[in-house]
Amino acid sequence: MLRRTVQWVLLGLLILGLVVAPHILDRYTIFLLYLLWLYIGLAQGWNLLAGYAGLISLGVAAFFGIGAYTAAMTVIHLKYHFLLGSLLGGVLAMAFAAIVAVPIFRFSGIYFAIGTLVLSEALRIFMISWKFTGSADGLALPIEKSPSFVWFYYLMLGVAAGATALVVLILRTKLGMGLRAIGNNEKSAQNMGVNTFRTKLYIFLISAFITGVVGGIHATQMGSIEPYSIFNAMWTLSTANTVIIGGIGTVAGPILGSIFVIFLGELLADYHTFHLAITGVLLILIIRFIPAGIWGELRETRPFRRLAGRTNR
């Protein structure tokens, strides 16, 4: 009982801290926190696919980019509010996922990974040439429409928290049960009556939606977008990296991973050119030596098991 109370108090303090934070911190720190929420959002979406459904996607940039462009286009041409635009971005990313799901699920395991990479690269090439979306120059959003920066902080915080809550929720439903069964052994899950195609499809759609919304909000926050940076494979790498470092297939992993990655980025801010290279080295080392990631290792230690009040998971 006491443990429960402590947990709720800690959670309450955390929420209070996060709400008050942008009013006492300087602009740069707020921006870092905004990036942290962005990473958590992307990481939760990716982890849902890779960590639970066992589908390693190398196409985060595709769904992120669709979200970003949809938001920008609707704000510019249809004069929508950017919130609606970002939501539409998520919906369109989801629709795109639904269209490509049939061919792309032909690729199981490793084929799925490179199939998604092909998708995002095909989209990038297409967007560089497509005049309708400003081709290589990209789009600029009307400045007078964009709200203050603190606003974006709260919005992305909401997305990160929402994505995390969504993952927790999904894991408790029948969909989540099927998902874990697939993660353990797809064939036996199928034999036990799990509709593996539908389960993976739903997860793919949800993951695409989260990624698209994050892309939409980020596009409005930046104020201008162009295809090279928006459809950059860097988004995919950072996301995968974040999840693997934090602990793939856990809810806390993406959060811890994001904190770690942002912190590392600050540490290496003076060595900008080597930042990505070091991230790559780190990724390889983690895969080799601590495949369970930071949280995967931490939660096995005694203090964490006591705090969590259970021994499994």
Binding site: F107, A113, L117, V118, L237, T273, H275, A277, I284
Partner: protein, 289 residues
């Protein structure tokens, strides 16, 4: 559209397919032998291009001669990569190795960027920019050279795989690693050798890319994706299939580029691969693995 644009596009595409085959061969071999989706293959090609560029300039020799040195260097790089980085994670399934390759590709790209900047480079020789006129169709000399080399290389690798002892060991390790191991084949070493060989073919591929087109540190990805398209079209891991897939991609791109404009050229192959996979998940010429 005139008949000449069409047939010119097709013929040029067919010849360019030879170059594609060389760039994709190593990717196809590694996938066929050890089931590793080697996403760092594009960076191996670009590394080959850079090394060829600098060695041929520094020594004042023809790029093709420099390629011999580069091939030896890349063989060593590939052998060591497989031994020290890939082999230890390959027992844990395909995903860790894939993500490791992904990490390597990012490391390679940032190092290229740091040492060799974003400047676009190409390897120039007296013949690399010239062409022949055949029946009113312009054929770049590099396309002809690449096509000839691809015939030699594909035949050579095919003969090596079917005739030599090491080639037979590689095929044994491909079919059944456990049994091959029991029969006294050092599978890990065979893997390392295969990776080295694949990297050596990437040296030639990179040199041809550099002489025919231009390259920047991030050029690897588009060549990797071409390799993937070719392997899907030709069937996973088949060497002759790789050649057929490469020629097919070349022709389709050549015709598509002539019809739709060059901006969408790269897109065509990627779209086709998705369509093929809907109809035939194992590739056009492939059988189920």
């Amino acid at each position: 559209m005139s008949f000449f644009t069409f047939s010119g596009g097709a013929l040029n595409g067919l010849l360019l397919g030879g170059l594609y085959a060389i760039t994709a061969l190593g990717f196809s071999m590694i996938f066929g032998v050890m089931g590793l989706m080697n996403v760092v293959h594009g960076e191996l090609l670009i590394l080959g291009a850079y090394l060829c560029f600098f060695i041929s300039r520094a020594l004042g020799i023809d790029p093709f001669l420099a390629t011999l040195f580069v091939a030896i260097i890349l063989f060593a790089v590939g052998y060591l990569l497989q031994r020290s980085i890939f082999n230890p994670v390959m027992d844990r399934g395909v995903e860790p190795a894939l993500l490791t390759a992904f990490g390597l590709s990012i490391i390679a790209q940032s190092l290229f960027l740091f040492y060799w900047t974003t400047n676009s480079r190409s390897i120039n020789t007296s013949y690399s920019q010239t062409g022949l006129q055949v029946l009113g169709i312009h054929l770049p000399v590099m396309y002809l050279i690449s096509f000839g080399l691809s015939l030699v290389l594909i035949a050579g690798v095919h003969a090596f795989m079917t005739r030599s002892f090491l080639g037979k060991a590689i095929r044994a390790a491909t079919q059944d690693p456990v049994t091959a191991q029991v029969m006294g084949i050092n599978v890990k070493r065979v893997y390392a050798f295969t990776y080295g060989l694949a990297a050596a073919t990437a040296a030639l591929g990179g040199a041809l890319i550099g002489m025919t087109f231009s390259f920047v540190p991030s050029s690897g990805l588009s060549w990797l994706l071409k390799g993937f398209v070719i392997v899907v079209l030709g069937g996973m891991g088949s060497i002759v299939g790789t050649f057929a897939g490469a020629l097919l991609l070349g022709v389709v791109e050549g015709v598509g580029g002539a019809v739709m404009g060059t901006g969408y050229r790269d897109l065509i192959g990627l779209v086709i691969v998705l369509l093929v996979l809907v109809a035939r998940p194992t590739g056009l010429f492939g059988r189920a693995r």
